[in-house]
């Protein structure tokens, strides 16, 4: 059993009467890229700041590479951090910014110059050493901030919503860059974001947080396909939610609108007459009958959006409605609004939210 590189144990943070982080536990392996995902106010940044040392936990401990750092000051922890607002020092050039951690540690000039040049190559800004931060775009500044954080070869890299202040396009390209650099250097990384697409696309594991607690920890695949709580199911990816009433508890039949589906084994002790929320990902629903998707419901097509390769169809099922995507087929035209249609899905794909 390999000792986890970063251990956060029973960490709690209270400000006055409010508990912002409750009993947070996490083990992070060496070289792992883990994301904290959640809405604002869920405590993800607070946990990150406690790992960095800017906040002191009200309870619990933080251990990095076997050393208990809970009481250590931030400047003693050898951690790299990238901030949402870049936080580049405006009075220093790009090269001086990157070399700041090296200078503070007393590295010889020749060595730090070499390292800075390495870093500039890594972030693909080799000619920018003499520029000042105000001369750079947001994306460039954040890359410099990243280089500055990793130049001193820290044991752990923390990123606090580093992409939130950037344009959408830059966000996508930069997150891939960050992930590539992280993989190349093999540095253990904690990444805080509220954007689930970001978290899903680049993380090894994700911690979904809400109200100061970790709702679920898992790989992107697990988080998306097997959400443990209603919040996780709603927050990550799009979800179609249907309201249903139990008609036969032992057979597992649930009435949805005018139709009925059989959800054997998923009812968890619900009784006849109970209302349930049935959640389905768009890709789990097919238009028309499909092999392996036994549950069917009838409805009427209410919206069709032709998006090119994908056709987004909205099907009304009485009072409910679902959104599903189907691929464009040059041979057959898209469905028309008002057409009667059937949707089918596998009961295994249904998430029952109580």
């Amino acid at each position: 059993m390999v000792e986890p590189f970063l251990k956060i144990e029973h960490v709690q943070k209270t400000f006055g009467a409010t508990t912002v982080v409750q009993d947070f536990n996490l083990d992070v392996g060496a070289g792992e890229f883990i994301s904290f995902l959640g809405p604002s106010g869920c405590g993800k940044t607070t946990v990150l700041r406690m790992v960095a040392g800017f906040e002191e936990p009200s309870a619990g401990s933080i251990v990095i590479a076997g050393k208990d750092v809970t009481r250590l000051k931030p400047n003693q922890r050898k951690i790299g951090m990238v901030f949402q607002a870049y936080a580049l020092f405006p009075n220093l050039t790009v090269a001086q910014n990157i070399g700041f951690g090296l200078k503070v540690a007393g590295m010889a000039r020749a060595d730090s110059d070499k390292r800075v040049a390495e870093m500039l190559d890594l972030i693909k800004l080799p000619q920018f050493g003499d520029r000042y931060p105000y001369q750079l775009s947001g994306g460039q500044q954040q890359r410099v901030a990243l280089a500055r954080a990793i130049a001193p070869k820290p044991k752990l890299l923390l990123l606090d919503e580093p992409l939130s202040a950037l344009d959408a396009k830059v966000r996508v390209s930069l997150r891939d860059e960050i992930r590539a650099i992280q993989k190349e250097l093999g540095i253990t990384t904690v990444f805080v974001t509220h954007d689930q697409e970001e978290a899903l696309s680049i993380s090894d594991r994700i911690v979904v947080m809400y109200g100061g607690k970790a709702e679920q920890v898992g790989t992107p695949f697990e988080i998306y396909n097997r959400p443990a709580t209603k919040f996780v199911a709603n927050f990550v990816g799009t979800l179609n939610v249907l309201e249903g009433t139990v008609t036969d508890a032992s057979a597992g039949t649930v009435r949805v609108g005018a139709g009925e589906v059989s959800l054997k084994g998923k009812l968890n002790g619900s009784k006849v007459g109970d209302t349930l929320s049935l959640a389905l990902r768009p890709e789990a629903i097919s238009l028309g009958r499909s092999a392996g998707r036994e549950a069917t419901l009838g409805g009427e097509i209410s919206e069709v959006s032709f998006l090119g390769s994908v056709i987004r169809v909205r099907v009304g099922l009485g009072r409910e409605a679902v959104s599903l995507d189907t691929f464009n087929n040059p041979a057959s035209p898209p469905p028309t609004v008002g057409e009667k249609a059937e949707i089918s899905f596998s009961p295994d794909d249904v998430l029952v939210l109580h």
């Binding site: 800017f54 951690i79 936080a87 020092f89 009075n91």
Partner: protein
Amino acid sequence: MSHASSSGRRLPTQWLGVAPFFLFAFLFLLLPAVSIVVGAFRGADGGFTFDNVAGLKSPTILNAYWVSIRVSFWSALLGCLIGFAMAAAVVLGGLPRFIRSPLLTFSGVASNFAGLPLAFAFIATIGPAGLITVWLRTEFGINLRAATGFNLFSTGGLIATYLFFQVPLMILIITPALDGLRREWREAAEILGATPAQYWRMIAFPILVPSLLGTFALLFANSFGAVATAFALAGPQLNIAPILLFSQIRGDVLGSPGLGYALALGMIVITGIANTLYLWLRSRTERWQK
């Protein structure tokens, strides 16, 4: 007034709107300034001469400039240090939040409270019969003048009195600059391994230096031109440049009108340089406040 007027006809009517202002500025700002510069180089016969400027080398006048520079320098320096300490205490030192607003309001008032009433207030406090002076004498047997050599009616007293409006002016100007020191910079420096001292030395002070220097220049210029307070404290005997000029205007004490012009010119040059420095440095700090 239509928009569609031809450019040829537009010129005169446009300028009508700003004519009064420029006329006023010309007659009552530019012309007086220029006439002083011209007068400084005009001899008794009306011809161009350097004699007046050369005449500034007289011991009285040089001494007057020198004392003025000393007083302005010290009141600006002390004003900067004390003002900075107070502003830093409130913005960064962790004092309760509710202190900040009254401090800034009071600074706004105090920085405008100069001149004669200020002199009176100081005379009433640390003058020969002042509140503090008397209190020290009766409670502790300390004679302020004998013990410290402090005399309100000397340059030392002038410096102390000027602090009353120099310190608040510093507070007013440096507080926004201190606000501009973003918390992330300190945290970024800390996580990169810097101690608070290193952060201040390598990041915070360099960022603040233009503001500090600029405000120093402003305080210097502010103090250099002040007349009323000094006059009330020591009367015409105190030999500083503005008071010398004052006496010269009242009645040609220097013996030569041209010399008066030269004296004024010297004052313009000194305050002009100081203020230009302030404005230049202020524009530089704005570049970083992005």
